[in-house]
Structure formats: structure tokens, C-alpha cells
């Protein structure tokens, strides 16, 4: 067995081997997974492709740690990893500005709102009420997500709070008739070479960009660029463009590692369990 103390993508290795060792209840199926000479998944294998030649982003993906101290309940710890040249600062679940020297470019009201939310211990985070967390909290969540790709639609299923995003790939434009506001926005995607570019608008106006409560408004537009650089790694650059809350757009990087042959496990947010503990 490959030692657990591998230097690369240790998180997924831990999950993969722990689950595979455990029992047959949650089998790790390696059918179609590229394998190394020793029989382990070859994370550096080329990006798989669909029958029409596009990169296949399908799979179960886990967040790659991007701070020196990982995270613990309540805050990121340590220092943010320095991104390579040309790579945006890394996103963190707790604080998307963690990798920015001066934090995010808040408008004054947005900075005050964030501070208020931190002071209130994030009690109004949608997560507290078992409501959708929003793109960025989902992107950086430490529970996995599964991408299911078909030619006309890509669906991302988030294990956390059973979130589901639809990305329409059939060439339709973003709405221009203001249909309504959505928790997950309205998303359309297209391929630019081997990068999936997803534009999303029509968000609800009370969003949380991170757990600390960096706000977003109904003016938010996100542009996500998904690139599966190898079988085992996904790079996602997300541009947050929200003139209602920020002085300028900003871009952050999320990186995910594949969990070969793995499955999501049901995770249902049972609010009643937790509300009794909320401080009044």
C-alpha cells in the first residue's frame, strides 16, 4: 500500500485510502481511473476528455489546503500559501481576503456589515439556518462536491447542505429580463479552449462570500474559470464583480483534488439540532 505520508495531495490520499480500507459499504471503484505502475490512482495522468473532445470535469472533488496551519473551527490559521506568479490569492472558507495584503476592497457599508457579522459570530450565516451557503462558501467548503458533466448542462452537487448548481451549456445568454433572484444565481457556461468559463448573475441580495460574512448584493456577477490541469487537479479562478459591495472586482483561486472512485454521502442540515445552542 502506498504510504499515507505522501507529499502530494495528501488530503485526498487520506480520504481515498481510509475509505477503501474501511469496508465495502462505501466502495472506492477504480473503473476508468488511470493507475500508476503500483496500482494506485495516477493523479498526474492527462485530463480525461468527453467524446466531443472537451475536458471532462466529472468526479468527486475535495478542497486542497492553502494555508500553512490548515483551519480550525472558527478561523483560518497560519499563513496563506504564496501563490505562484500569475496566480490569484488563494481563497479560504473563513475569509476570502486572507491572501490579500489589505483584505478585500470593501465599500464602507460592506466593511461595517462584515464586522457586524463577525461580532455576532456569524449567526445570520445562511448555514446557521440550513440555507444555501453560496458559491464561495461551497467552493471552499471542506466537504466534497461532485461535478456531473453532460454536453448541455453541468451540475455541481455539494455534499454540504445538499447544494445543487446548474450550469447551462446550451448557448443561452444570461437573463436580461430580471426573472427573479436565486440562491445559486443563474449560470451559463462555455468553453474557452480547455477552460470552462461560467458566468453567473441574478443572485439574491443578501449573500455571504465567506464565513466571516463578506457581503454580496444583487449586483453580483461571478466569473469562474475551471481548468482540470491533470486527472487529479482542478484549478478554479473566481472573479467577484459586485459594485454594490466592493470598490473593484477581485479574483481568487480555489484548487481541488480528485477523490478517485469516491461518492458523496448524504448530508442533511437538520437545523433543530443546533438552534437550541445559539446564544441569545
Amino acid at each position: 500500500m502506498k504510504p499515507l505520508f505522501s507529499r502530494s495531495l495528501v488530503v485526498f490520499i487520506v480520504f481515498a485510502f481510509s475509505a477503501s480500507i474501511a469496508n465495502a459499504q462505501w466502495p472506492i471503484r477504480l473503473d476508468g481511473v488511470p493507475l500508476s505502475a503500483d496500482g494506485s490512482p495516477d493523479l498526474n495522468a492527462p485530463t480525461p476528455r468527453t467524446s466531443d473532445g472537451k475536458p471532462d470535469l466529472s468526479g468527486v472533488w475535495n478542497m486542497i489546503r492553502n494555508t500553512s496551519g490548515g483551519g480550525e473551527q472558527g478561523r483560518p490559521v497560519g499563513e496563506p500559501f504564496e501563490p505562484p506568479p500569475g496566480v490569484p490569492p488563494y481563497a479560504t472558507f473563513w475569509d476570502q481576503g486572507f491572501g490579500f495584503e489589505n483584505g478585500l476592497p470593501y465599500l464602507p457599508w460592506a466593511r461595517e456589515k462584515r464586522e457586524e457579522r463577525v461580532a455576532n459570530k456569524g449567526i445570520e450565516n445562511p448555514d446557521s439556518y440550513c440555507l444555501p451557503l453560496g458559491h464561495m462558501q461551497f467552493h471552499t467548503h471542506n466537504q466534497p462536491r461532485e461535478i456531473v458533466q453532460s454536453p448541455n448542462q453541468i451540475v455541481i452537487i455539494y455534499e454540504a447542505s445538499a447544494g445543487i448548481r446548474q450550469i447551462f451549456m446550451d448557448g443561452r445568454p444570461l437573463p436580461d429580463n430580471d426573472p427573479m433572484e436565486f440562491w445559486y444565481g443563474y449560470a451559463v457556461g462555455r468553453w474557452e479552449g480547455d477552460t470552462l468559463v461560467v458566468e453567473t448573475t441574478n443572485f439574491r441580495g443578501d449573500g455571504w462570500v465567506d464565513f466571516y460574512g463578506s457581503p454580496s448584493t444583487d449586483q453580483l456577477k461571478t466569473t469562474e474559470r475551471f481548468t482540470r490541469v491533470s486527472y487529479g487537479k482542478m484549478e478554479i479562478d473566481i472573479t467577484i464583480d459586485d459594485p454594490g459591495a466592493y470598490t473593484e472586482p477581485f479574483t481568487i483561486r480555489v484548487e481541488h483534488s480528485i477523490m478517485p472512485g469516491d461518492n458523496l454521502v448524504e448530508w442533511v442540515c437538520e437545523n433543530e439540532q443546533s438552534t437550541q445552542y445559539f446564544n441569545e
Binding site: 487520506v14 474501511a22 480550525e72 459570530k121 456569524g122 439540532q273
Partner: protein, 135 residues
């Protein structure tokens, strides 16, 4: 025992990746990291369930009083991936729990570490581990 293998790898996974692996459900609104507790007691019930696994432990404190504790563990999905099942911890087991106490309840906590003490005296560590836990 096969179950030791589960715990061995669970321990390694937890040591390697404290807390980053654990599901969030607004910890800050519920628990206070400045209220650490450490108790040793007998397992009354273990629930491998959504959204968080729960461990109920009965402690006999230094005054001889019975104290019933309710500890939140990580998401069941995370435990399942580590090989846990509903019988991984059983009523009657002796455990030591390091936890962060609930803000508004004296006997509820978020477990950072659960140590199972078996008949041979072996200590097996589950749950959250934080470097240099200050208890």
C-alpha cells in the same frame, strides 16, 4: 481485530489533518473555543447521523455527581469515509473527550478529540485533534 485497523487509519488521518476535514455548521454561533472541557466517562449513546455525529457520555465528576454530556462530532460523512459505523463506539465504552463547550449550555460541547480506552488500556484517538491543545 479489524476494528483496530479502522481506528489506526482514522487516527492517522486526523493527526495529519486537524479540523480542516471537519464539516462546519456555524461553530462560532454554538460553541466557544475559550471554554475547553476535558471529561472521562461512559458512553451512553453514539449517533452516526446527519448533520453531525453525536456522542452522549455520562461522567461521574470529582464530587461524585452524575453529569450527562452531549458532544457534537464531525459530519457523519467524514466519519464514514474513515471507516466508522454505528457500532464504532458503543454504550459502555470508556472515553475521554476534549471539547469546546457550548456558549449557552454547560454540558454540551463540540468534540475536538475522543480517546477510546479499551480493556487492554490502549488509547485510540478519534475526532478533532488540534496541535498543542490547551486544556
Amino acid at each position: 481485530m479489524k476494528i483496530k485497523n479502522y481506528f489506526f487509519y482514522a487516527t492517522l488521518s486526523i493527526v495529519l489533518f486537524p479540523a480542516t476535514l471537519f464539516a462546519h455548521h456555524n461553530f462560532q454561533a454554538e460553541f466557544d473555543r475559550d471554554l475547553p472541557v476535558v471529561i472521562t466517562g461512559t458512553v451512553v449513546r453514539f449517533e452516526l447521523t446527519n448533520p453531525h455525529a453525536r456522542l452522549y457520555v455520562q461522567e461521574i465528576n470529582d464530587s461524585g455527581e452524575t453529569v450527562n454530556w452531549n458532544f457534537e462530532l464531525t459530519a457523519a460523512s467524514n466519519l464514514l469515509r474513515r471507516g466508522w459505523r454505528r457500532d464504532s463506539v458503543n454504550p459502555g465504552d470508556t472515553v475521554t473527550v476534549n471539547a469546546d463547550r457550548a456558549i449557552n449550555h454547560p454540558n454540551i460541547g463540540n468534540a475536538r478529540r475522543v480517546t477510546l480506552i479499551n480493556e487492554e488500556g490502549e488509547n485510540t484517538i478519534f475526532g478533532q485533534v488540534r496541535d498543542q491543545i490547551q486544556d
